[in-house]
């Protein structure tokens, strides 16, 4: 699989079809993987792919990374779940599909955190997203769909990679979502409002305002985050309970209906705030209310950011 990846990367760089390959490489001691940016064909040997490749590299496609943009057209090593995020970025006009080459990796799952890796991928060290994964096999070539109303020609749909790397994986997700996050949501839903409030206040109180959750999130791409607007100060920067609650609520609301549950924010959080729980709960609410699941179709805009004349609510008109 790695040879196939390196071969393809080399080809793309040699032909000039991509100027940089954003992928995973080993750290010096070969204990952890880390993002690498390959610009020379002779460096493709650095690319690796294994269950430690947890990072969602689509972050580096966002406009925040001006020096990566300056390198030229990127090719990106992406798992199915990462392609979901790229799909949202396309639907929100952050990148154009043709401006990125997606190397879709077939995937058997990754670890929840790299430090859990002991040489074997067991279900108990995998995140909830992997237990319910329906995108282990990215598709290629782009499936052509019949034209929609108002469209001249049919288009490619998301979850489509330009190239698929790796053997087909056989995995069928369970009918009822399984895993720790869903178990906890079911537990929390049974509690009273007061108990839930207590639960969240306790977790948010640990927040240290390092904004790792925001910085690692590929969908937090605002040029200036509201947390940095101080005239007026909408979100207090202090790490006191009020400031922490304000920040965490704001982050959750901004991602409702957009978050693809990649889990990067929770992984990045140095104080272990259960952000996957926040995000998945929001995703379930949006799915119930709008029938929308983020990251499956680049032509459909997330419901919370779209204005629609057919909206059944009249307060908005």
């Amino acid at each position: 699989m790695e040879n196939q990846l390196r071969q393809k990367a080399k080809e793309l760089l040699e032909k000039g079809e991509a100027k940089v390959v954003i992928g995973y490489g080993w750290n010096k001691r070969k204990t952890r993987t880390t993002p690498v940016f390959i610009t020379k064909p002779e460096d493709v040997e650095k690319l690796v792919f294994n269950p430690l490749c947890v990072n969602n590299l689509s972050l580096y496609l966002t406009r925040k990374f001006t020096d990566i943009k300056a390198l030229g057209k990127p090719a990106i090593v992406a798992k199915g779940c990462d392609i979901k995020t790229i799909t949202v970025l396309i639907s929100e006009s952050q990148i154009k599909r043709e401006d990125v080459v997606i190397l879709g990796m077939t995937c058997n799952g990754v670890v929840y955190k790299q430090e859990l890796w002991k040489g074997e991928l067991k279900p108990e060290i995998m995140p909830t997203k992997c237990h319910n994964c329906d995108v282990r096999n990215p598709q290629s070539p782009l499936p052509t769909l019949p034209p929609q109303v108002g469209e001249e020609k049919g288009g490619g749909r998301s979850l489509a990679a330009d190239f698929v790397i790796g053997e087909k994986v056989n995995f069928t997700p369970p009918d009822t979502p399984a895993g720790m996050v869903f178990d906890k949501i079911r537990d929390l839903d049974k509690k009273s409002g007061e108990e839930r409030w207590g639960f969240w206040i306790e977790h948010f109180n640990r927040c240290i305002k390092c904004y790792a959750c925001r910085q690692i999130c590929p969908l937090c791409y605002c040029d200036r985050c509201i947390a940095e607007k101080n005239m007026p100060q909408w979100i207090e920067t202090s790490a006191h309970p009020r400031g922490n609650l304000a920040w965490n609520l704001k982050r959750a609301m901004d991602l409702a209906g957009r978050c693809t549950f990649c889990g990067e924010c929770e992984r990045a959080c140095p104080v272990n705030i259960p952000l996957n729980l926040v995000n998945q709960k929001m995703a379930l609410v949006v799915k119930d209310a709008f029938g929308h699941r983020a990251g499956y179709d680049e032509k459909v805009h997330p419901p919370m950011i779209v204005f629609n004349m057919e909206d059944e609510e009249d307060f908005i008109k």
């Binding site: 750290n27 010096k28 001691r29 204990t31 952890r32 993987t33 880390t34 993002p35 690498v36 940016f37 990072n55 972050l59 580096y60 925040k64 990374f65 001006t66 020096d67 990566i68 790299q114 977790h203 640990r206 240290i208 305002k209 390092c210 904004y211 790792a212 925001r214 910085q215 690692i216 940095e228 101080n230 100060q233 207090e236 920067t237 202090s238 790490a239 006191h240 400031g243 990067e264 992984r267 990045a268 140095p270 104080v271 272990n272 705030i273």
Partner: protein, 340 residues
């Protein structure tokens, strides 16, 4: 002062006595599935089997959020009030030698031109009881910055674990000596025979040379060297490394409240944030992330050792452990050491 013995069963008594006197006892304990420095009230809250807490204990000397003044506006005029702090005695038990060494670094910056009363009063009331490391992980690199897993720098009291549930106690500073004398029923005479647990073996990273790094960084023509962009390209610009770092000390001043009354608050800030150096004009001298990362590295290995006699980096490895993209400072140290 002769060394003493602290039996683990006496540690409980120490916590009870100190709590009774209104002091704060900080020790490694579990919080959200990881070991952190936090106040404890009972001995069974303490975690003894740990490498290093995820946070540093700087938050007990330099809190993340601290009110420094208050204001209110009336018809008669403006009322400004300073805040006087009266910190309680704070005992930091189970500090690691690297963390203890960071106290000198904080003290240096908070007393360099302006004497920061808030910091100084807290540090005056803090007693650092360090436990020498018997374990280390792959992120530890104290020996590379010329410290050791049992170095005494910065500790008031240094404890070394024995093989029979106790510690050999060495009081290093006047503060430490007074503390040990004050609890002479708890710190008992050192037995004639005892065996110490072996100290952790932290390998010096071959190829990382702090002297060489400093020389290279001092040379201004290396400031625009292309390696910075290459090494730090993956940095995402969060503040996890700076907030976890025991020597990072930058802060921001904000006013919170209404137009009529409010507080002036000092909050931790991070040079890794995009808006840290944004000018009012809109110009940002550190306009891309690698420049911000370069600043952090320069601060640790050039500005700090140039300006102060203390260290900018104590080798605790927290920035490596918390980094979501595994930007390993020791790899950059090696890379820079290898530059011609």
């Amino acid at each position: 002062m002769a060394n003493k013995l602290l039996k683990k069963e006496n540690l409980g008594k120490l916590i009870d006595t100190l709590s009774g006197e209104g002091s704060i006892f900080v020790a490694p304990r579990m919080d959200a599935r990881q070991v952190v420095y936090a106040p404890v009230e009972k001995m069974d809250e303490i975690v003894f089997d740990y490498i290093i807490p995820i946070n540093s204990f700087k938050e007990f000397l330099f809190p993340q959020t601290e009110t420094v003044a208050a204001f209110s506006i009336h018809k008669e005029g403006v009322d400004l009030r300073g805040v006087e702090i009266e910190p309680k005695e704070t005992v930091i038990f189970g500090s690691r030698p690297c963390d203890a060494a960071s106290v000198a670094s904080l003290r240096a910056v908070f007393n360099w031109d302006f004497k920061d009363e808030f910091y100084n009063r807290r540090e005056d009331k803090a007693v650092v009881m360090t436990v020498a490391c018997t374990k280390a992980d792959e992120s530890c690199f104290c020996t590379t910055v010329n410290l050791t897993p049992d170095s005494p720098n910065g500790s008031d009291i240094l404890l070394k674990e024995t093989n029979d549930n106790g510690y050999i106690v060495e009081a290093l500073t006047d503060k430490g000596k007074k503390f040990v004398e004050r609890f002479n029923n708890i710190f008992t005479p050192q037995p004639s025979a005892f065996s110490l647990q072996p100290i952790a073996d932290v390998k010096h990273i071959v190829g990382a040379d702090v002297k060489k790094i400093q020389e290279w960084l001092k040379d201004t023509k290396n400031y625009e060297n292309p390696i910075w962009a290459e090494l730090a390209r993956k940095c995402i610009g969060c503040g996890a490394c700076t907030f976890a770092c025991p020597t990072c000390h930058c802060f921001d001043i904000v006013d919170e409240g209404s137009a009529f009354e409010g507080e002036r608050i000092k909050n931790w800030d991070a040079c890794q944030f995009e808006f840290f150096t944004l000018h009012t004009s809109g110009h940002n001298p550190r306009d891309t992330q690698y420049k911000r990362w370069r600043n952090r590295f320069m601060c640790k290995f050039n500005f700090y050792p140039n300006k102060f006699s203390s260290r900018g980096c104590v080798g605790c490895g927290r920035c490596i452990r918390v980094c979501p993209v595994r930007l390993d400072i020791t790899e950059v140290m090696e890379e820079v050491s290898n530059q011609p």
